[in-house]
Symmetry: C2
Subunit: 516 residues, 2 copies
């Protein structure tokens, strides 16, 4: 049911070898490049509701309009496409944007430097990537502090060494010890050097986007990169209803190069959008649709991912809240809307406002992560590490979340039904009142039957107590240290490595450091 | 969308009063007697798979059969109904059981002594009840110890004081300081005395079942109890494929009195059933179907709930595991099968093997609890308190889970779509680039827009740190103590109270204490 396995990781051998793999935990588990879901999406809204939300989005687009600030070329593209441009405000006739986005692919491949790790984005495919954008990092030993390039590299290594991840992500944390206008070079380099999976480039300025794409060309070859998606960028709407030039110039840079863009509103209900879900969803549809269409005006057929990031707010303090029920349900509706546009989908992730990898973190995190897989998201950014309302990447939470990603591999397989899975012969063999422990059906299946968590403790209470009564966060603390100690970098072609270093040195030498 | 509110709890007053309710937390929140779901069930399996599983269950029933031990009357009922009885083994011709269960109601009301708390079980209704059956209790102060009648009463009080619970449950923990053959009397009394919601009676022996039903008759009146469901019992299959006489005699006692039964296999895959999900689901269907049919042979139309309790096992230790992905998905398939039988459904709950209210507890707990609401369960036992693989009731986890139950009230509402919810006028009022904080649409909705957790901390990091950097378990520890300190018993008619005490004294005096 899953996609083709990564052959470079599969070990040979028979039953003993398979058992050794299983009992060695996730490290010995079979990595798949991405998940092909075996269960349907969870469609919570009926046709009538969807049509009303689409009509509301159409009305926002036609009557309120969307501002495109600080990007005259984007305005010119809109003008030529037939939109009504009044200053920086753009209004869209009904159906115009739907017609334009029809040229975007429903499904595409992002190539990885190890071809076994290429990911298909769209359709029934699900790709997990780390959290993105935190200025701080946290662990149980040192608490919260600003992220550094060492932290950044550590998280790439942790993602790379997990068989339950498919994508290296982008700005996993801000490496605040590197100048703002140069850190994108070190980040892209770290993704290439410490991971052999697909990754995201920089988006914080058009020239940084261009540098990111250029580095991808060095890795994949100029000609290959011209005709294939080898890097993506994640771009945010300045909700409500504003696309800033920094973002649109960056995303046009990626699209012009034939590279992928992920376009995401950030709607905190009651602040950057209405406080009611239906309104926030309509706004989200309008904002993302306009962005997706702009990529197609820049280059027809450029891969683009329809993004979603709904959130709620505390009624008592006005603080943002994450992992709450309303955005979880809202995400499922947005998934339905994205499929009606035939576009790949990015949705939610593992969100929380908790400041510790505790019960709150995983209640909120599990609810939002399940919403992401239920809604049919093809690319799930923020799959691991997210704490503190996206302000901090947590080493322990990263490991706990990665384990949940592993569980979701089993979850998304669904239930297979054939005579063997139905255990037809086993009932005849065992009969009423006897146990299935030793029967031949159990022996044939027990090694692969159930998800085997690395962070959960399933031992009896007495044994757990004898082992020190530790909680899941403490186990996760031990596990990330073990992972980093055992990490081995995947091989990288020396010529590529040198060319990247040379490019970086040249670009760094060209300008003075900027620190804000 | 929800059911009728409990008028006795709703406060009067306008906007200020509503705000006071919300800001006072869950205690001021509006209690509903049960949830009427506004989102569909999550149907993960197609028609073809369901038909194959039903055929496999039919084959188990016809060829392997089910043992009914130590209950000659049950065997006689089967014989008369046309089953093949060989000793204690009963085999069922195809379709026989489906025809028999057709007399069971698809939906029924269990009455509470406060009529505002009556629950409808079946259809789109969802009823939350506490966990059931732990010998131990736990809290962060005193650790794990055997449960007592004081603990039992405490958990009833905690459930009663939560607006997010609908049902008082049954053996919330074993009150091990009361004799085994007498504790059912104290347990039923505690449910009546400290809660005004519906509850479960005892099932551990036919005479204890009879005592439970008799006490319900005292509370509700003999005539009313003859024609209405005023108590239910939760009965377990001795999987695989055995119904013990203790259980069948008890459940026939309830059914004969026209009272409700909840019938539940306990299938730990690889031990009490096949290690593969499809086989475990087929077995579950066979076992539950046979039990449901027996209630109808005892009394046509007796309310019966189709139960499900799938679990997995650790491949490394052979220990049971809970809250894992395979049973979560399996539960959704069982939900589909129950609906095809037109029977009310009990499913999973908030499960975990963790020994602490930590990240593991809520990862596993949230995954299994969401499966329970997604699969369409109408009665969700084990909604709160479950730790340690069902061996311990946790005070802290009870409060954390209750909070999750609150979130699920919002979740199950789904997304409402009308002009007001679509915020049509708000977009015109606010426009691109402005915030929605103060707009009239936000002002009209913000008090009720989002679920407001009592245990989550959404404050900024600095404020959280200044408040002592406490984790969710510590907040829960404070909260359950506050709840118990503030608890007030609902009024109980003095005549009923005296009659119950008299009955209990008489029954206790009649026999010597048994301690095992």
């Amino acid at each position: 049911m899953d996609g083709d396995g990564d052959r470079s990781r599969k070990r040979g051998g028979g039953r003993e070898a398979r058992r050794a793999e299983r009992t060695s935990g996730a490290h010995g588990a079979v990595h798949v490049p991405y998940i092909v879901r075996g269960i349907p999406t969870y469609d919570v809204m009926g046709e009538e509701g969807l049509i009303r939300i689409e009509a509301a989005a159409d009305r926002i687009l036609a009557e309120t309009g969307i501002e495109f600030r600080d990007d005259p070329e984007a305005l010119e593209l809109w003008r030529r496409a037939g939109a009504h441009v009044e200053g920086t405000l753009v209004k869209f006739p009904k159906d115009m944007l739907r017609e334009i986005v029809a040229t975007a692919p429903a499904e595409f491949t992002q190539f990885a430097r190890n071809p076994a790790n290429n990911v298909r984005i769209g359709g029934k495919n699900v790709v997990f990537a780390p959290a993105y954008g935190s200025p701080f990092v946290m662990d149980l030993d040192k608490g919260r502090r600003f992220g550094t390039i060492e932290d950044f590299e550590n998280f790439i290594k942790l993602a790379q060494s997990s068989p339950w991840f498919h994508h290296s992500g982008g700005t996993i944390c801000e490496p605040t010890d590197v100048a703002v206008n140069k850190r994108h070079l070190d980040m892209v380099y770290a993704h290439v050097r410490y991971s052999d999976r697909a990754f995201l480039g920089s988006v914080t300025a058009a020239e940084r986007a261009a540098d990111s794409v250029e580095m991808a060309r060095i890795v994949f070859g100029r000609e290959f990169a011209e005709n294939n998606c080898v890097i993506m960028g994640n771009f945010n709407v300045n909700s409500p209803l504003v696309w800033d030039g920094t973002m649109t110039r960056g995303m046009r840079e990626y699209a012009r190069a034939g590279q992928g863009t992920v376009l995401v509103p950030f709607i905190l209900g009651g602040a950057m959008g209405p406080v009611t879900s239906a309104g926030a969803i309509a706004q989200s549809l309008a904002e993302t649709l306009a962005g997706c269409a702009l990529t197609q005006l820049e280059r027809k057929g450029a891969p683009v991912v329809f993004g979603n990031f709904l959130s709620s707010m505390s009624l008592r303090s006005g603080s943002p809240t994450f992992g709450t029920p309303e955005p979880a349900i809202g995400s499922m509706v947005i998934g339905q809307l994205a499929r009606r546009l035939n576009l790949p989908l990015r949705c939610s992730g593992n969100f929380t406002t908790s400041k510790l990898p505790d019960a709150q973190a995983m209640t909120e995190g599990t609810m939002s992560m399940l919403a992401a897989v239920h809604c049919g998201a093809n690319y799930i950014l923020h799959s691991a590490g997210f704490l503190d309302g996206l302000l901090s990447m947590s080493y322990e939470k990263f490991v706990l979340d990665t384990d949940l990603c592993g569980a979701l591999h089993s979850y998304l397989k669904g239930v297979q039904v054939d005579d063997d899975q139905l255990a037809v012969d086993a009932f005849a063999e065992v009969g009423p009142g006897n146990h299935f422990f030793g029967c031949s059906h159990t022996m044939a299946h027990y090694e692969t039957a159930f998800w085997d968590s690395e962070t959960a403790d399933n031992e009896p209470f007495e044994k757990w107590e004898a082992n020190g009564s530790v909680d899941a966060a403490t186990r996760a603390n031990r596990l990330w240290k073990k992972r980093l100690a055992e990490y081995e970098a995947p091989p990288l072609d020396q010529g590529i490595d040198e060319a990247l270093r040379e490019f970086i040195a040249r670009r760094k030498a060209a300008v003075a450091d900027m620190w804000y």
